[in-house]
């Protein structure tokens, strides 16, 4: 489910891989160091590494992932660079960036009233 693509169109322009033109950088995902391509959206680096769940729904507790990829749906919200609810599909990766998932089931269990939801 993960990985990078090379797009070769029969008889058409060769889009080639993005990986050859962009620099590799290391950033952190839930505290673990991971590698992405500088400037690509956080959600793309994570997807290419096989991480699809970008967080958990605050009410249902179900896993959420990228849905529109262009900033419209907010399904990809994560805590990035210390700020909550950043759209991972629009946020460019850079060296040392800290990215983490929100509303993990363990965090949710500790909140008041969750048993009634």
């Amino acid at each position: 489910m993960s990985g990078r693509l090379t797009i070769r169109i029969p008889g058409g322009p060769d889009l080639g891989p993005q990986a050859e033109t962009l620099r590799q950088v290391t950033f952190s995902f839930d505290g673990q160091p991971v590698v992405g391509l500088e400037g690509e959206p956080v959600a793309m680096s994570l997807w290419a590494l096989g991480y699809r769940a970008l967080g958990w729904n605050e009410e249902s507790g179900r896993q959420r992932g990228l849905y529109c990829a262009i900033g419209h749906c907010f399904e990809c919200r994560m805590t990035i660079d210390g700020q909550r609810d950043q759209r991972a599909c629009c946020y460019p990766v850079r060296e040392g960036l800290a990215v983490s998932r929100q509303s993990k089931p363990v965090d949710l269990e500790m909140q008041d009233g969750m048993d009634q939801v």
Binding site: M1, S2, G3, R4, L5, T6, I7, R8, I9, P10, G12, P13, L15, P17, Q18, A19, G39, E40, P41, M44, W47, A48, R52, A53, L54, N57, S60, R62, Q63, R64, G65, L66, Y67, C68, A69, I70, G71, H72, C73, E75, C90, Y91, P92
Partner: protein, 406 residues
Amino acid sequence: MSQTDVLVVGAGPAGLTAAQELGRRGIRVTVIDEYPTAGGRLLGQLYQAGDHWWVGRQVAEQLLSDISGHPAVRLRLGTSVSGLERRDKGWVVEDTSGGEPAMARAVLLATGAAEIPIAIPGWTLPGVMTVGAAQVMANVHRVRPGQRGVIVGLGALSFAVAQELRWAGVDLAGIVMPPPPRNGMPGWTVEEEWRKMAHLAHLAPTWMRPLSSLLRRAGWRRRLLAGAPQAGVAVAGTRLRPNVAALAIEGDAAVSAVVLQRLNGHGNLVGEPWREAVDFVCTSGGLRPIPDLAAAAGAAMHYSWDGRYDVPLFGPCGDTTVPGLYVAGNILGIEGAAVAMAQGQLASVGILRHLLGKPDGFGPEADQFALQLAEARRHAPLVFDPAWAAIHEKVMADFQRETREG
């Protein structure tokens, strides 16, 4: 407070074209876009139009290189515009950067379109995405959306993206239909989805094109589509499966299968459902304009029952019913990028007229750009939704009436 002549919201083909036209004349323009890269939906577009290739990214790069020759134009990327307020001499524009709001004498809204979700059980699982998201992943970022997917829903984008995924080497189980609505649910029907087929027939392989006149007739359409083999017919590098519906998407932490069932000629489910293994699902529910900022700024609007056709009333040069507020591109209705570019040119004329206080100025330019718009429509490689032509006529007539009365 930063001061500029024109603030453009959206760096897609419409916004960039208008910025280039205005910048060429030395007008100070700031273009704001929330995405980190300029180009809007151009960035992912890739198809053969006649004997040449439309590579949207190259079109965007050309526009940006033209703009870089005009020092009066500035780009601000990674910033969302959150509000607009009219002051006596112009507009105060708020954004999410946390900085001071910008002041501009005129605003152009070129915010484009969004995709309409198809909600079937399991649609919130990671791995379910819009068909446009798969296009962005593959063509813009060269990231594999999965190993094998399925497209749910018919539309111009379903075919375009199926072909693009094929070029990217991603396997598809085909294009299937959304499930028929449960008893008494209003709105979508299988019949409606099938009716779209007739308008998309020009995308089909040559041997199928003669069928398009048959597909326009209800009886034939039912017989042909219900009689298609369960494995589908080869179209756009994949298989179109008009008589198969996706009932649900399954998976634990991410998508692992789609549940399918056969449809009969009346669009009802028949036989036993079965599972096919997929690790991603694309929904293609169609596109709708994003007119929110125009409505918030007080522009008179045309509303539709389901929001799909909500657009600001607009005039020939992208004028709205609010002085100094202009619109161009897919905010006016869903069409291709060449149309959006021509609308951007026309809006630049409207804006010049406003800034220079010459309501009848730039006649030859306006005529030339209107011709280019008509040309772009005539040569459009994709017709997204034939309903737009009639809506545009009504909206422009309403605009004339409103501005005459006002």
